[in-house]
């Protein structure tokens, strides 16, 4: 007779479901300023500890402390905070547009603003992001025309992407923003290829790859890491761990007990794990990894620890799968409030100026939205002729025939 007990099938569960109290005790949070800062050319094997801890700069008083507390110029901080406020105002306004039936779809990045915006601030002209759909902050922290963004979301006559692409899957080459796929993980790999090209050509451009915690389960995540390991191209591999992939918690991507940062070690790639709601930590860690890449030391994986405060998209309802007050209980707080407190402490910002900024961006976005709406909403104003363009550089005969048959 066998002494083996029948095997049990295991499916991981998050610490809370609807009706439960939010519980984040499984997330270890070291005090700000306690994590060491290695030189940018250090061997990956010499910094493995940085993948299990969390780089944090702002302490509970809002002061910048420790080795990652860079001397950041006031204007960079000002720009960072304003961009986060602007992005949140934009998200709120677009959410309203969707509820009004003017666009089919929207996705907010609430609570995660510091990551894309802080990283973008550390990048240079000529570098290229391969973003997911939750890095709108990259564009909203630059001077990309707001009206164009809204027109894309409304799929109207002035949609820069001619109505062919789902709302928010922008493309903005001149702003270092690669066309967002919507298929998950594919672009993580393309960023590595782009960076390989930079090295092949002997340039000094850096690629910035983006993926979510859930999509690290995709094959392409691993293909990206192996290629980044083999060729050591100038790429930063950003994993935004916002704890949720629609309704699946991070444990469904194998990230419950192991960190996402640690995955890099098997590929001899250095990794940082960073408080993604701490703008100062985001900026410092981004600069470290970008400089390492640009100096020819290869890829870095950064796990940004954050929380998806918003629903996955306008088609999602998180109250069906996670505790209701979870985002309020999130122990890393709100990135906007935290940077605001720091800047108030530093004497370069005030409650009053913050309110002014909120009003200013609210007005800016309302005006831009109004203008954009005048070019059409929910696909109106787009031409069916556009459907057949840009499949190929030159339209082949079969598409010409199909277009003629359609009569456009």
């Amino acid at each position: 007779m066998s002494d083996y007990a029948p095997l049990k099938f295991f499916v991981p569960e998050p610490t809370g479901r609807p009706g439960d109290e939010p519980d984040f005790t499984d997330i270890e949070i070291p005090a700000a300023g306690t994590v060491r800062r290695p030189d940018i050319d250090v061997d990956p094997a010499e910094m493995k500890d940085l993948a299990r801890t969390m780089i944090r700069v702002m302490n509970t008083n809002g002061d910048a402390v420790g080795p990652w507390a860079d001397d950041i110029p006031d204007d960079i901080l000002m720009q960072g905070l304003k961009s986060m406020v602007r992005t949140r105002a934009f998200d709120d306004r677009m959410m309203t547009l969707q509820r009004q039936g003017k666009t089919s779809f929207y996705m907010k990045c609430t609570g995660e603003e510091a990551i894309a915006i802080g990283f973008q601030a550390a990048l240079s002209k000529g570098d290229m992001h391969f973003p997911t759909y939750r890095q709108q902050g990259i564009l909203l922290s630059q001077d990309y025309p707001i009206v164009d963004l809204v027109c894309q979301i409304l799929s109207n006559a002035k949609d820069p992407l001619k109505g062919r692409q789902l709302p928010i899957l922008y493309s903005a080459r001149d702003y270092g923003f690669f066309t967002v796929s919507g298929n998950l993980g594919t672009q993580f790999l393309q960023a590595v290829g782009w960076a390989m090209a930079s090295a092949i050509k002997g340039d000094t451009k850096v690629a910035s790859a983006w993926i979510g915690d859930g999509s690290t389960a995709e094959n392409d995540f691993h293909a990206a890491l192996v290629n980044a390991s083999v060729y050591k191209p100038p790429v930063v591999l950003n994993v935004v761990n916002n704890q949720w992939a629609i309704s699946s918690f991070r444990g469904m991507a194998g990230g419950n007990n192991a960190t996402f940062a640690e995955r890099a070690h098997g590929y001899d790639i250095p990794a940082l794990r960073v408080d993604g709601n701490d703008y100062l930590a985001v900026y410092a860690a981004s600069r470290w990894a970008i400089e390492r890449a640009r100096r020819g030391h290869g890829a870095t994986l950064i796990e940004w620890v954050t929380y998806r405060v918003a629903p996955h998209s306008t088609s999602d309802d998180p109250s069906k799968y996670r505790p209701k007050e979870a985002s309020e209980a999130w122990p890393l707080g709100d990135p906007i409030l935290r940077l605001k407190n720091h800047m108030v402490n530093r004497g370069i910002w005030s409650e009053e100026r913050h309110k002014q900024a909120e009003t200013e961006y609210d007005d800016e976005i309302r005006l831009a939205t109004k203008e954009a709406e005048s070019y059409g909403t929910m696909g109106s104003g787009s031409s069916p002729r556009e459907m057949f363009e840009c499949v190929f550089k030159d339209m082949p005969r079969h598409l010409r025939e199909q277009r003629q048959k359609m009569g456009v």
């Binding site: 092949i200 290629n227 840009c390 550089k393």
Partner: protein, 338 residues
């Protein structure tokens, strides 16, 4: 004019393009130092260096995904997937990414990449080294699909593919690498040195993507085919004495509809011949095109001769392979039906 095998012609196309254009890079599994399992890249790394010709990890998605990134940067990667049977891990990158960059970005980003891959059977490769998955690529909007049948076309079409600003899937029937093959597997292998299509000019020339060639003129029946089956059709024509017009399509998408229509209108009969499986094969598209455009010229229904709807078998390879006997039988039956 130099005589080349199809391997040499393919290598020469890459050599010519790499010499002309610093942005052309070549990589794939075993293509660097070793020069490829079929030797198509032999000597290129030595000539152009490891930054432009290099080995890739065994990750087809990785090969195509990185090529897309490089293409977006401004390079023109020409990558190899070691066997067409191994291309499926890269399918998402081809379908959802390479094929759509131009469309979804309003041409801000494009994918000027070439994916070379050996296809087809006849080498006792079993189900993992024999497949002909061309129809899986013609069904995608945004990629071009080319399949070559001889050294001259292989060089000219590969140069066209590398120069094309859209992604091209470039199929190389591996049984044709060293010589034409008519399906008579029990006879001595022929080589390209005695074949006029083994004459390959030096330097740069192109064969346009989207143009078929009339491989052999005839008046009784049109055979629409490509790749290895061109020579099988030729053998069947000789053995039956039926005056078939053999059209080598060369490019499946875009498709040379004019060449097809002209020939079928002349002959009034049409056979579609390919090595790939029957159901939803590219032959179904060809049959539909002929029906739509040439219905009133047809004297008999369009006949499909193809591989069977099974995985590519090993021991039964020659039962599966649509050889000259099967083609000849179908030709005779088409001519008997009035």
């Amino acid at each position: 004019m130099p005589q080349m095998t199809m391997i040499e012609a393919i290598r020469d196309a890459m050599d010519v393009k790499m010499t002309m254009d610093d942005n052309v890079v070549v990589y794939g599994e075993d293509v660097g130092y070793f020069g490829g399992v079929f030797r198509c890249t032999h000597g290129l790394q030595e000539k152009f260096g490891t930054s432009r010709v290099f080995d890739a990890p065994i990750s087809e998605s990785g090969i195509v995904g990185t090529a897309i990134g490089m293409g977006a940067y401004g390079l023109r990667p020409c990558v190899e997937i070691q066997f067409a049977d191994y291309i499926y891990p890269a399918y998402d990158q081809i379908v959802s990414e390479a094929a759509r960059l131009r469309y979804r970005s309003a041409a801000e980003f494009t994918s000027p990449i070439t994916i070379r891959t050996p296809c087809g059977g006849g080498i006792f490769g079993g189900q993992t080294h024999s497949q002909s998955p061309e129809a899986l690529f013609t069904h995608i909007s945004g990629v071009k699909t080319v399949i070559v049948s001889n050294p001259y076309d292989a060089k000219g079409l590969l140069i066209s593919a590398i120069e094309d600003d859209d992604p091209v899937i470039f199929f190389e029937p591996k049984r044709l690498y060293n010589g034409p093959f008519d399906g008579h597997h029990d006879r001595p292998a022929k080589n390209w040195s005695k074949h006029p299509l083994g004459d390959v000019p030096e330097g740069h020339y192109t064969v346009p993507i989207g143009k078929a060639s009339i491989f052999s003129e005839g008046s009784d029946v049109t055979i629409l085919t490509y790749g290895t089956m061109v020579y099988v059709a030729e053998a069947a024509k000789e053995e039956t004495g039926i005056d078939a017009e053999i059209i080598d399509l060369r490019s499946l998408l875009p498709l040379d509809v004019d060449a097809i229509v002209k020939s079928v209108e002349k002959t009034g009969r049409c056979m579609v011949l390919h090595e790939a499986t029957l159901t939803s094969g590219f032959g179904a598209e060809l049959a539909a095109q002929v029906q739509e455009r040439c219905f009133y010229h047809l004297e008999v229904p369009v006949e499909r001769v193809t591989g069977y709807d099974t995985p590519y078998p090993h021991a039964q390879e020659w039962d599966y392979f649509p050889g000259p006997a099967r083609v000849g039988k179908a030709l005779k039956s088409m001519m008997e039906t009035v």
